[in-house]
Symmetry: C2
Subunit: 351 residues, 2 copies
Amino acid sequence: MELDERKAKILTAIIQNYQETGEPVGSRTISKLTDLSLSSATIRNEMADLEEMGLIVQPHTSAGRIPTDKGYRLYVDQMMADNRREVAEIKDLVVERVDRVELYLKQMAKVLAANTNYATMITGPSYHDTKLKFIQLSRVDAGKLLAVVVVEGNVIRNTIFDVDEGLTDEELLSLNLLLNTKLNGLSMREINLGIIKDIEAAAGAHGAIVSQVLDAVADAIRTDDDMQVYTSGATNIFKYPELSGSQTAQDLISTLEDKKDLGELVRSGLKEEAGEGIQVYIGEELPVAAMKDCSVVTATYDLGDGMRGSIGIIGPKRMDYQKVVGTLQKVMDQLDGAYKKTLAIGNKEQT
Amino acid sequence: MELDERKAKILTAIIQNYQETGEPVGSRTISKLTDLSLSSATIRNEMADLEEMGLIVQPHTSAGRIPTDKGYRLYVDQMMADNRREVAEIKDLVVERVDRVELYLKQMAKVLAANTNYATMITGPSYHDTKLKFIQLSRVDAGKLLAVVVVEGNVIRNTIFDVDEGLTDEELLSLNLLLNTKLNGLSMREINLGIIKDIEAAAGAHGAIVSQVLDAVADAIRTDDDMQVYTSGATNIFKYPELSGSQTAQDLISTLEDKKDLGELVRSGLKEEAGEGIQVYIGEELPVAAMKDCSVVTATYDLGDGMRGSIGIIGPKRMDYQKVVGTLQKVMDQLDGAYKKTLAIGNKEQT
DNA sequence: GTTAGCACTCTAAACAGATGAGTGCTAACA
DNA sequence: TGTTAGCACTCATCTGTTTAGAGTGCTAAC
């Protein structure tokens, strides 16, 4: 069986109507809705075909049809490109006084959730490819050092750690100088054994302490919870009856609260960098069981300086894919390198 | 009407049975449950009295009775002290490698939620009374300074801020020295205009920069979101049918996600330091409308060094007050100054 | 003061039609 | 050959009714 243009139109109409109403859509509705000017009987014949092809199903006899995962997949892959709707301006994208990427992302999650009416998640960037900008060791207590690390994007990390040997103030000063000279501009990934050896040698008598320091630096850069995930708008799922059925809602909210699965989900999307970076997962395609009634659209953002992470929007299968993809696309465009600018403005306001 | 001992026993029995089952409890049940060996008819008479006193109600005619807010209040205030049950050991209180109070509290929230089966929230400590331990200014970019502030408890805060004047390395060094000398051991609250003037004078030519720096320090100490609130176990509310009724659940989860109301709620509790610091809010007593079907038990923790905040446990009105209060009491005992010890261990493991 | 007995109330569950949306099929039509 | 009108059929949903059971309040007896 082949999907001719008329069938495609009908499928699109079903998907779009179901998206709005959440109710199975019948042949009469389609007959009136489309500009095909066909009777409901004809539509019925076509719908029978579409059902045979596995693109739509009836929840029960004598009910209208709803799209299957396969139907959505077809829709997303082929039909959406055609009539790309102009995306409404994103409101409330007021990002004020942000001197930390984390806050920026949190705000972004909130704004996206408010704009789309779906749940959103954003993973914090991984800092492995981010360049070191500044390292500062200071003594806090006797035997306790504070390491402050600033990386590109003015992201600040710090740890307190113990050192075995005592250091004089002068030694600390020269160690600081040494570290900054040797490491400045390098990313964590680029710091290899050779460089470490180099620094140890240069540190002379206190070479032993270097590895301790570098460990602490690595520790500081690695975000606290391995990878941070910010979620927002979890309660939006209550807006969709098919999701707020007790068990589903519970599992979903749990998943969103837990955030562990989410990181996993998004990370897997990060690897395959196909297309324009926006990916759509529909129902069973998702690796997380709790989400089998959902669709997730993910995108990879790049704040510049190697700060890359991803954004996911979680909604019912009947989510407005066009709007979501469009919004995400738009946000990505805005985000692309935009952080630095915002940062600059933010800092100016702050003083 | 007076509440004699028998009535009290019956009220207690009703509350405890309702706590377990969540169903209105009838006279027969009480008759069998208590050791009063009274017939259901007698119990009925007593229950009619209790109802008249406003301590219990029938959801509808021909249903059993459930406690009112007033009934719970009486129970919590008077009857709980008597037979304080021995609290089960708190499991999973594994606090590993924590060098930040924030993480510690997050873990604590999780553990409490898992142990009680209620939702929990913990507010981060306010640092206004915490003593400054160490301040470090460093130049990151031209015209951009990084201020790192360490307070008691090894809590580290930082900001990047712009300065108008250029500073030489020597000037920066002496400014650092000056700040540490003048401010060490003081809390934010203790830094008054006199001290600021003092420092400005001592800074000489660069006196103007001092206020900028102090602003930044204050900014750094103030936690990012004014006051941080960590929540956990929000989905536990689905375990209680009377809360998971669509609208209530939605509002509640929203409230927990939003966290703003929570801070308010807990903050108000912080002021009145009555009793042993543990307070119980029942239903309408709560200032947050979304929580009118809930009870909240709050406690104030003190990690030492002025780091004080509070823990709240949110559950249905029929929550196990004894267990919750007991658990909270226990956690408070463990927490009392325990953070420092944990911190020390954590740091040792880390190196 | 306590208890047994009984009539009464009200909820929840179970059941039975009635309704109507929607289908599939067939036959007629262009 | 594709399209349409008509019709019988299905089934979820709604509505009203019945039934069972839990629990009460009251009264009268102990």
